[in-house]
């Protein structure tokens, strides 16, 4: 676009200097953001000596030495931790999406006494940090005999994620045309069948929601530490924390464990970053 009135600007050095400056600042900060991670990943494929003597060289040729990974796999049940993390994360997301969709459907589809109160009741949870209730949750899990099981984590994360899911999905549920649902009812569909007719239409919202709740669950340290610290139910985040705390001197193993803990998150992030960033900022546009 050319604006005749701003034409004199073209002669000013700011025309090319400003973009250059913008790239220099953004580039330097980007380097600061990713260099520490690259440094750790790169050095995880080296032996102890190379880590200290040549930390800035890539692990190619004789520098390459996966000894740290051998130690991690020998010393910890890392695949078991990984499995626990997957079960906890997928189980929680599954419950959040299913129960959240059911509740959002119930609250938006029907009119009944107490609907306004129940909607408000479900939303209160958005504002309260559940961590502060940890003592009571711990007592509850002990009473239910669920301490040190991955179920304790799945239940807490699901309860924590439900208000957000109900809030988001209700917005989308309202947009589904009622003609569609009424047509199904005329054909004799039960209310449950109508629900399952609506769910596939929610796919984009469900996907965004899943990505949005996934990483905080995967990364959480607090509840695994308090509710399920035992070996059998240990998640990858907690397992990494404990391994890293114990192996302070074996740097190859430390860096290998860090890299193994980073990898799943980074892969998920790079696949879903677009949806995730969209989901994080949805609804804030209008402030």
């Amino acid at each position: 676009m050319t604006q005749p009135k701003t034409a004199p600007n073209a002669l000013r050095p700011s025309r090319w200097l400003t973009p250059l400056l913008v790239h220099v600042i953004l580039g330097s900060y980007t380097l600061l953001a990713i260099a520490p991670v690259i440094l750790v990943v790169m050095n995880s494929f080296k032996g102890s000596q190379a880590i200290f003597q040549k930390p800035y060289l890539p692990p190619i040729g004789e520098l390459f030495d996966p000894v740290g990974y051998a130690t991690v796999f020998k010393q910890t049940a890392i695949l078991h931790y990984l499995g626990n993390s997957l079960l906890v994360t997928l189980g929680s997301i599954g419950l959040i999406l299913l129960l959240g969709a059911m509740t959002a459907f119930g609250l938006t589809e029907y009119r009944f006494r107490g609907r306004g109160f129940l909607s408000l009741y479900a939303l209160i949870g958005l504002m309260i940090p559940i961590r502060l209730a940890t003592v009571s949750i711990l007592k509850l899990m002990v009473a239910l005999n669920l301490q040190d099981t991955i179920w304790s984590l799945i239940l807490v994360y699901s309860a924590q994620g439900l208000p957000m899911a109900i809030f988001v999905l209700s917005q989308y549920m309202r947009q589904v045309p009622s003609d569609l649902k009424d047509a199904a009812r005329l054909d004799g569909a039960s209310e449950y069948q109508v629900f399952w007719l609506v769910v596939p239409l929610m796919r984009p919202a469900l996907a965004t929601l899943a990505i949005f709740v996934m990483l905080p669950i995967w990364n959480d340290l607090w509840f695994p530490l308090v509710l399920a610290p035992g070996e059998a139910s240990r998640t990858l985040t907690l397992g990494a924390q404990q391994f890293l705390g114990q192996f302070q001197t074996d740097w190859s193993a430390l860096l290998a464990m860090l890299t193994l803990a980073i990898a799943p998150v980074l892969v998920l992030y790079l696949i879903f970053s677009r949806q995730l960033i969209r989901g994080l900022t949805a609804g804030t546009v209008k402030g």
Binding site: I51, F52, S136, L155, N219, L254
Partner: protein
């Protein structure tokens, strides 16, 4: 909403399906979230063994007993400092990055955005240890870089005088992506015709930002501030990972979150105390509630939201 009465199930018949849709989520939410929150309040009013109702004496103990108050006060002061550092550094930095990412015809915008946001995705455990290793005198990365920049290297994370600001800087490094994203979204919503009009009137990029864009995104400044406040007053993980539950050296990095954890979980020879733990939790809750109300009642009323 128009309704076709014929198609709606008869009012007089019990509509069990509504209960089926609502009950599972509401039960789970009530049992695992709402009940523990109320129970937290109840426990804070009982004695440590849970047998006797003691009123507010746990709170009295927290605020007056020399066994509790100095430590709580220290954690509170540290948390306030931690929060102020985030407000002074993280949020302006996020705004700067967002403003730069918003510049016209920027190449590689989405690559920058993805990479700048990536530390936010990592768990505290990873971030805490990465920086512990990089700043450690053993590896030599931080000493080498300090040499290069002409700064005298100190083990910043390990010194009582610098450990808290260092942990705050690490946390800022990790989370700057969140204000950045919020500000970016807000800047995207500023209509092009307003900007074009200002440009035609001869506004420089600097004027354009401070006179036109910034007033329009002021509501987002409020949202980012309150999110920072809630996040910081809950912070625990990074200190626990980088410095342990004792928030060393000599409790210099102790935040309300780590203080709460030690109170109910116990540490070293000290046994965990549920009554005092829930009392601390309730006080943190009240602080967060007070801050949120301040935001809702003062900031949101004063700040003009423009319909864009």
């Amino acid at each position: 909403m128009k309704e076709l009465p014929m198609l709606r199930p008869n009012k007089s018949r019990p509509r069990w399906h509504i209960a089926v849709f609502l009950a599972p989520a509401l039960l789970l939410y009530s049992i695992v979230m709402v009940f523990p929150l109320l129970d937290t309040l109840r426990l804070s009013l009982f004695s440590s063994d849970g047998a006797n109702f003691v009123g507010v004496s746990n709170y009295q103990r927290l605020f007056t007993d020399s066994q509790w108050w100095p430590y709580f006060w220290r954690a509170l002061k540290n948390t306030v400092l931690f929060f102020l550092l985030h407000m002074l550094l993280q949020n302006p930095l996020g705004l700067l990055l967002a403003a730069l990412l918003d510049s016209k015809n920027l190449r590689g915008r989405s690559i920058y955005r993805t990479l700048l946001f990536s530390p936010t995705m990592l768990s505290f455990v990873i971030v805490g240890f990465i920086w512990q290793l990089i700043l450690s005198p053993t590896w030599g990365i931080a000493p080498a870089i300090s040499d290069f920049l002409g700064i005298r290297y100190r083990p910043w994370l390990g010194l009582e005088s610098t450990s808290l600001p260092t942990v705050a800087l690490i946390s800022i490094w990790q989370f700057v992506g969140i204000p950045m994203l919020f500000f970016m979204t807000a800047l995207l919503a500023v209509p092009q015709d307003i900007l074009e009009a200002a440009r035609v009137d001869g506004a420089s990029a600097w004027q354009l930002f401070w006179r036109v864009k910034f007033p329009l995104i002021l509501p987002t400044v409020g949202i980012v501030s309150i999110l920072t406040f809630i996040g910081n007053f809950n912070a625990f993980d990074l200190v626990y990972t980088a410095k342990g539950a004792l928030a060393g050296p000599n409790f210099s990095t102790d935040l309300l979150g780590t203080f709460f954890y030690r109170t109910f979980y116990g540490f070293q020879l000290q046994l965990g105390d549920y009554a005092m733990g829930t009392t601390v939790a309730m006080v943190i809750f009240l602080i967060i509630l007070f801050g949120s109300l301040l935001y809702l009642l003062v900031w949101q009323r004063k700040v003009v939201s423009y319909e864009l």
